[in-house]
């Protein structure tokens, strides 16, 4: 009699455990499936670790902006225009064909310069660089000699959106 009772209790206990396990598997123990994400291609742009922006010296940046803008209406004008600049070739055509040869740009002042974001990249020669997206507000003046009106100064205040490529800090 005792053996039957023991067997019955054991069977009940087993059934309870099995029920509990099946219920638990339905509710509690879900599988964690990885969310598939594409892997970054080797050598491509990568996000910098963390969110901190690498330092870009303002005075060097201002000097570089001045140097870049001074190529305006020179044979090197195309070297500072990004490939994504809207209607780039038309602008260059109008500069080559329509601008007076003596028209030059004077940088009256570089105002606020802000770095909006950065990404790490690598040049073809293997050097690691940081490409910073910068916005600079620059006060400029176009100067040229007009055959009828004489010396002309055409001033303008513009916001320049720039890609600035600088050498990345040395890896430690």
């Amino acid at each position: 009699m005792m053996r039957y009772q023991t067997k019955t209790i054991g069977a009940l206990a087993l059934a309870t455990i099995l029920l509990a396990v099946s219920a638990a598997s339905a509710v509690e123990t879900r599988r964690f499936n990885r969310i598939a994400t594409p892997s970054a291609p080797g050598g491509g742009p990568r996000a910098l670790p963390g969110e901190a922006l690498a330092n870009v010296d303002r005075s060097a940046l201002v000097a570089a902006i001045r140097e870049a803008l001074l190529t305006w209406n020179t044979p090197n004008a195309d070297s500072v225009l990004d490939e994504t600049f809207y209607d780039r070739e038309r602008l260059l055509d109008n500069l080559r064909g329509g601008a007076p040869l003596d028209a030059r740009i004077r940088i009256l002042g570089v105002r606020a310069v802000n770095i909006l974001g950065q990404r790490a990249d690598e040049l073809d020669d293997g050097r690691k660089v940081i490409v910073s997206t910068a916005v600079a507000v620059v006060d400029t003046q176009i100067e040229f000699e007009d055959p009828t009106l004489g010396f002309r100064q055409v001033r303008g205040l513009n916001e320049y959106h720039l890609d600035v490529t600088s050498l990345a800090p040395q890896q430690r």
Partner: protein, 232 residues
């Protein structure tokens, strides 16, 4: 238990505050204060251009040094006032110091009309009448193409039902009265023919537009603007 929780909370709060202050410090390095407007001395204008200005004489870091700027590329120029040296249509002297027709004036500028749009059949007019139009702001010359029968600058109308069949008739909307063609007369042409039209706004702004109408079917027409430039 309470004795342990309070120091833990305090420590977490302190760590969060320290992290926040570090983040702010890191960001603030890149927000440069405005230098202020530099007044132009007329005598100064005659000087030769010298890129070296006081305060900006600090050179790039030496070759190989970290932070050295290797290149700089202009991606976009947004005009705030006056001349935009990188204004595509006229980089030297756009608008005598007054901002008009600028493609970066917050609107599309004249360049907003570069492209194409399909003619749409008139919803109210006789069957077989198709419209496309050029809509421009007479002050800023912000421009866009539309095909709802409107087009203050130029309306292009094609009648496929009555002769001359498929002739394109271009005219300004006299009801709106902000633009008129120069000379002030309707221009007729047929699909496939390149046309250059001159339009003048009541503000005195004037632009030329190169258009061509493509026909792909009996009632399928596309207006294509291949060029547009401000002339006054």
């Amino acid at each position: 238990m309470m004795n342990i929780r309070i120091p833990l909370c305090a420590a977490v709060a302190a760590l969060a505050a320290a992290h926040l202050s570090l983040s702010v410090a890191a960001q603030s390095d890149f927000v440069v204060e405005t230098e202020g407007t530099i007044k132009v001395d007329p005598a100064d204008a005659a000087k030769t251009i010298d890129p070296a200005e006081p305060g900006d004489a600090v050179a790039n870091p030496p070759p190989g040094a970290s932070g050295r700027i290797l290149s700089i590329r202009i991606k976009r120029v947004i005009n705030r006032a006056g001349n935009n040296p990188y204004f595509v249509a006229d980089p030297v002297e756009n608008a005598d110091g007054q901002l008009i027709g600028d493609n970066d004036a917050g609107g599309a500028g004249l360049n907003g009309c570069l492209g194409s749009i399909a003619f749409a059949e008139s919803a109210t007019g006789p069957n077989g009448t198709f419209f496309a139009g050029v809509d421009a702001d007479p002050n800023t010359l912000d421009c866009r193409l539309r095909n709802d029968g409107q087009g203050p600058a130029i309306i292009f109308q094609i009648d496929t039902a009555f002769p001359p069949v498929n002739q394109v008739e271009a005219f300004s909307d006299v009801l709106v009265g902000t633009f008129q063609l120069v000379p002030n007369a309707q221009v007729n042409f047929f699909p496939g023919q390149q046309q250059t039209l001159t339009v003048r706004a009541v503000t005195g702004r004037e632009f030329e537009i190169d258009v061509i109408v493509d026909q792909a079917g009996a009632q399928t027409f596309t207006l294509r603007v291949t060029g547009i430039r401000q002339t006054a």
